[in-house]
Amino acid sequence: MSAVLQNLVNQPYRHGFVTDIESEIAPKGLNEETIRLISAKKNEPDWLLDFRLKAYQKWLTMSEPSWQNVHYPKIDFQEISYYAAPKPKKKLASMDEVDPELLRTFEKLGVPMHERAALAGVAVDVVFDSVSVATTYKEKLAELGIIFCSISEAVQKHPDLVREYIGAVVPVGDNFYAALNSAVFTDGSFCYIPKGIKCPMDLSTYFRINTEGSGQFERTLVIAEEGASVSYLEGCTAPQFDTNQLHAAVVELIAMDNADIKYSTVQNWYAGDENGIGGIYNFVTKRGLAKGVNSRISWTQVETGAAITWKYPSCILRGDNSVGEFYSVAVTNHHQQADTGTKMIHLGKNTRSTIISKGISAGKSNSSYRGLVRIAPTAENARNFSQCDSMLVGNQCGAHTFPYIQVRNHSAKVEHEASTSKIGEDQLFYFAQRGIDAEEAVSMIVNGFCKEVFQQLPMEFAVEATKLLSFKLEGSVG
């Protein structure tokens, strides 16, 4: 790897700072007591405590998955603190009452949420550590009957909806990390779009991990009723720490007849330093159920951070004519490892799915695409198109593709395309000979490579993602 590439890659993490807010932290370790503590702290109904305990019992019988193409030291789940909440000085009725320190943090991150929300027409449900601090635009949304709040609040105010749908797409025992999340999740977002309503703005959540050593277990639930549609944005940044932090979120999406859910993520968790020390473990279960006819679930993700990413946003296409989409850019650098992809489960007739995956590996990192396309016997005339492209930057990184295709219906049409390319000296020299330096060249090549995915992102997010990618790959070429 040349010096230019090295410099580009070796930029420090820009969001590395710790906000000084008193945290209320539960003792380390996981047992029934911890779960009861969380549930009591959050004043939860019995059915939710039962849900958690059932998940915990399942979890005890399960073991960590080891099939993924990533390597890390074994996690001691008894060394993690499962609850941390910023201590509110008093009840918050408006943004003015939000801790100024917290607001400054958002300023540093470039998320002046009150202004940003107003200017951009984005409602920001801000999750800071595990407790939602403020929710904007709620009233406007409420006029349309849209519910957009923290899941804790939803548990209190809309318990029937939460009870009906939580765990409906990702059951408590779905996998090791989903079971863990179900047992100990502390907060997250809840979104409900009533029948026939098109949500007039993108709904956005900024997540942030802030307490060293505290596990993060977010839980998100998005429900679009018949004929409803919503575009949901999730963005992440995290401060710099030396110890690894486990992040095991669960996201469930449910789309009824003719409903449309678009879920976009820009993920920039702390990835560890250039020697691979520290960084977030991002073990996430995301799944959408296209339950009704003509429904659509669309995932777009730009994964740039985390020391380890283990994530397969999936679609279960149960409704006839339903559509599943997965657009992904995964960038790894230094010692980052990513094993990510999707599952498209075709159950209904005439179901269609599209997978566009772009993996970019730089430094000494490793990136794997892992995807399953399953056509069930019931899925007459199902169609899938998959395209998995990998790009290597430098010669010490790796890219891998693991496609799984299971077809049990003869009328199915499944296409898979894959390619691997490399940003080579020759390309960079070509740019240089036209007066363009390596940094700009890499940025242009990479953004060109990811164009099909960025086109899927809402405008502002696409601009952010483009910048983020360039910045992530700074120093990686040369």
């Binding site: 040349s2 240089a432 363009i436 090549i445």
Partner: protein, 264 residues
């Protein structure tokens, strides 16, 4: 053309260059003045393309001895992008494909970068579009070319025309054309030659690297140099190319007159 009041654009003295421990260039001397067209001929492996890449600052080659002055400045002190900005242009023998990057985007970035470094105004996308379309007419290029990815899926002729288009945009002081004629049919060759002739003027200079006399029928050089084993072993006028075409390179060894050396 050779002018009496011309300025020296390039002055290469005793240039030695290596790659991966092997010395390829073994003492090149060459002076190029404004308004001149120089042809460099020679067999495969004689070092012609290496010379072109060394002038452009390719990172794979290390200059071990000698000097290169470009408009009275030390060229070797500049990075490859600085050389391009200073006015050195290399038309590649094998233009590189850049999937996903639209030609219009690439050309505009190159143009604006170079303009900025020369203290001139950048063009916004609309202005640039008008500007580039005008230049494209010279090379008889189709408008859809702008939307396609850089060189991806281009025919040999399209790639070479794209190189000359870039030269037209960047207006270099010194254009180095590395086997621009290879892989071109006669019609494409004529278009490319017309473009190069159009761009050649009394203030700039061109170095043509070629195997064949064919190109030189369309772009008439002031000097012809023959390279062998990393040196210029013969320099003459345009008639030297014709003699080589007739007699082959071995003929030089049997007629060692006017051997080696600097031009002009």
């Amino acid at each position: 053309m050779i002018n009496n009041d011309s300025q020296t654009i390039l002055d290469v003295q005793n240039l030695h260059a290596s790659t991966q421990g092997a010395e390829i260039l073994k003492g090149i001397n060459l002076t190029v003045k404004s308004g001149e067209i120089h042809a460099i001929m020679g067999l495969n492996g004689s070092g012609k393309s290496t010379f072109a890449k060394v002038l452009a600052g390719h990172p794979d080659y290390e200059v071990t001895q000698g000097t290169i002055q470009f408009e009275q400045h030390d060229l070797l002190a500049l990075s490859s992008e600085e050389r391009a900005q200073a006015g050195i242009f290399l038309a590649f023998q094998y233009p590189i494909e850049i999937p996903g990057v639209a030609n219009s985007q690439f050309l505009r970035l190159a143009y604006n970068t170079v303009q900025t470094n020369r203290g001139r105004e950048e063009l916004d996308p609309l202005e640039f579009d008008d500007f580039v379309r005008e230049k494209m007419k010279l090379l008889e290029m189709k408008p859809d070319f702008l939307d396609r990815s850089v060189n991806e899926g281009f025919s040999g002729g399209e790639k070479k025309r794209n190189e000359i288009l870039q030269m037209a945009l960047l207006e270099p002081k010194l254009g180095i054309l590395d086997e621009t004629d290879s892989g071109l049919d006669i019609d494409a060759l004529k278009i490319v030659a017309k473009g190069v002739n159009h761009l050649s003027n009394k203030d700039n200079a061109i170095i043509l690297i070629t195997h064949y006399q064919r190109l030189l029928e369309h772009i008439v050089p002031d000097y012809v140099h023959v390279m062998e084993a990393g040196r210029i072993i013969r320099t003459g006028g345009k008639e030297l190319a014709l003699e080589l075409e007739t007699h082959g390179y071995d003929w030089l060894h049997n007629n060692p007159k006017n051997s080696a050396g600097a031009s002009a």
